[in-house]
């Protein structure tokens, strides 16, 4: 690789809102998205919520001349909704399905049936290894009383761990997707602190698009205005995140978003806004110190966010166990009821009623059994993530305690009577 090596990457990300029969003007929007991607000729287009494989196949055919490589990440009952189109050959791909992803009995929310996942593509560009990740985390339906918070935090942790363990030899790491997390939400901070990924919106000096970089804006005619009541400019939940690893330096030259309208005609491409980033990868200048995540201040921040996530998962576990216990009691009651019905059926008086009630009781028992098993595995999943967090917390604390600078800070803090 030449010493003055420089690589420009044009990236596109969009949550396409492609629910068959439910999303408005889906066919027309997919068609216009294809035209737009062909015209713009990005290096990589990463899409979420392409729920229909027919839509993917349509786009694949349409985009073939400009994006010869493409992949659809299949998962769950419905699918992960994730797909990618690349101008460059894809060397390898794989995926990781999140262990926790909502509840099967919340059918109207549907996330559980999607099998939400993170997809990984490995690309070799001018001798540089690029690991590109695309993901979509569990939706947030009620910010005030979010029953999925622990699941989303666990997903953010699994995502961070998957990136951490699979990108150790990559030169550049890119993560795009709909995280369903606001920038200051716990999951978002955890992901950034653990992986060291930078947020294109916060890093770029050349941003054009929606107010505050929001990716769901009230100007978009497909957006449910009630959901944005507390957020006059909208919310930012879709991201382009990146980092360079060994000897490389990456920066975001420009970042554009759509603004609730199609870039050309009047109606938008989706209920989310598209993100378009131009990234530039160069060799690190010799004076550049690429890892600011190892200082004592950064380590403190990491420790604090790991603790917060640990506490959230702990709460989630208590909740899961409560539901498990509740379902256990229902099973007990159901068994008693069944025994009673059998006794009544053996007698004379209310035999018919007893026989009629027998099948619903069995149904109740089976239902409660399924709920019990589900929450037992939920608690196990949360406990697994909590154990990983706890281990990393221990290691971060050890490193923090060993660090001479933080020891000096601790000493000063103690002298000043401060609590560390």
């Amino acid at each position: 690789m030449k010493p003055n090596f420089s690589l420009r990457l044009r990236i596109f990300n969009l949550n396409c809102w492609g629910i068959p029969y439910l999303s408005k003007h889906r066919g027309d929007r997919v068609k216009r998205l294809g035209d737009f991607l062909n015209m713009e000729s990005f290096d990589l287009a990463l899409l979420e919520e392409v729920w229909s494989e027919q839509d993917f196949q349509y786009l694949r055919q349409k985009l073939l001349p400009t994006y010869p490589a493409a992949h659809y990440f299949r998962s769950g009952v419905i699918g992960s909704g994730l797909c990618v189109f690349s101008k460059h050959p894809i060397q390898e791909f794989t995926q990781h399905v999140y262990t926790l992803n909502g509840y099967p009995y919340m059918i109207h929310h549907g996330d559980w049936f999607c099998g939400k996942a993170v997809g990984l593509l490995v690309l070799h560009l001018s001798g540089l290894v690029l690991n590109a990740y695309v993901t979509h985390l569990h939706a947030e339906y009620n910010r005030q009383k979010d029953i999925y918070l622990a699941h989303r935090v666990a997903q953010a942790w699994e995502l961070a761990q998957f990136i951490h363990h699979t990108s150790k030899k990559a030169d550049v790491v890119l993560l795009c997707g709909d995280l369903n997390l606001h920038p200051k939400d716990l999951g978002c901070r955890l992901l950034k602190e653990w992986t060291g990924l930078h947020d294109a919106y916060l890093e770029t000096r050349d941003f054009k698009g929606s107010e505050e970089g929001c990716t769901m804006v009230p100007e978009n005619c497909y957006v449910n205005q009630r959901e944005l009541q507390s957020f006059p400019f909208g919310i930012r939940i879709d991201y382009v995140l990146y980092k360079a690893v060994s000897g490389f330096y990456i920066s975001c030259k420009t970042l554009r978003t759509t603004t609730g309208r199609d870039p050309h005609s009047g109606t938008p491409l989706s209920d989310h806004e598209a993100l378009m980033a131009t990234l530039c990868v160069r060799h690190s200048p010799p004076q550049h110190t690429p890892s600011p995540t190892h200082g004592p201040a950064e380590r403190s921040q990491l420790i604090s966010v790991l603790k917060e996530a640990w506490a959230e998962l702990d709460l989630g576990m208590a909740q899961a166990r409560w539901w498990g216990t509740f379902a256990g009691y229902v099973i007990g009651l159901g068994l008693l009821l069944l025994a009673l019905l059998c006794a009544l059926a053996a007698g004379e008086g209310v035999r018919e009623v007893a026989i009629m009630l027998w099948t619903p009781s069995v149904g109740l028992l089976l239902g409660a059994g399924a709920v019990y098993l589900f929450h037992v595995q939920e608690a196990k999943g949360l406990s697994r993530a909590r154990a990983e967090l706890q281990h990393m917390l221990g290691r971060a604390r050890e490193a923090h305690d060993l660090d001479p600078e933080s020891q000096a800070a601790l000493f000063l803090g103690q002298q000043e009577g401060g609590q560390i």
Copy 2:
């Protein structure tokens, strides 16, 4: 690291057969296992089928002085059964739960409820990065008519992919576990060809233990002799596999197995035999060519096993779709039956019978719905693995065609009228 660097690793692996209430003499065996591990003081002990977390906690307490680091991999409803004890600090750990793992309605087999997984530990030993993996794949209940074959092949592929993507910066890779695969089975060949892992039993010059390295032997009093009818020496399904990556060379100095008896007293530690390997890691000698997996012959082998696995997953997909369609028909019939019952209930004649049949019909409908959804996601999971295999097959073929040696072989083959 010194140029004459050398590291000796003593590894222990055992499928512990620790099913609460079902496995014979469990408490006694766990106790004796603890004593044995303490006495032998291995570097790493990797265990499978420790289904009870109490057993793990008991061992943890008992082994604490000799193995200060330990981890239990939680997953599924019952758990993955995997755990590790290490003499050295564990830097990081994570796990990947297999997407496909049998059928929930095969309750008597129970694999689905375990959430079978692969666990990863990262250890730093004298400046060397060791990635140690422990796993347990779906059991084989009927070798002649194996309904889980496609799932086991998909698991072997997921395992291989997980190792491939997470070990890129590791110096040494170690995989131990019960693969439920005989050495020449498709899944085993796929795993070895794709990851380049070597089999300790085949590599070592100093083996002592059971005939042909078998890990389930007829001499073991806990083994069901009927299952070994076709295999007079037993079967080899537990493995120690390893490879060194960058600039290192690894060899298996000695491999020992138990032989159906406890190393000290008469009764065995489990229904499986334990594996005890001494591995030696050194810097590669300069003349050593560490990657024999890239020659045209090896590439041919890889292509052939990828094709075979692709075909097996394809068969599995057809089967999954058949079950999905069958469940779809049952749903249709169930709906018809419900409509008929409603009509009958509205009339006079057989109202009571119609009302009594209503609830079982709803049950049938819900059951068939669950089966339908399960097989849809099964087909998606198999299709995902097949797509990954197909992509790697394409790439291997491209590399094979570009290789001058294989082109010469092709030319010769064509001249001789041979089919390549």
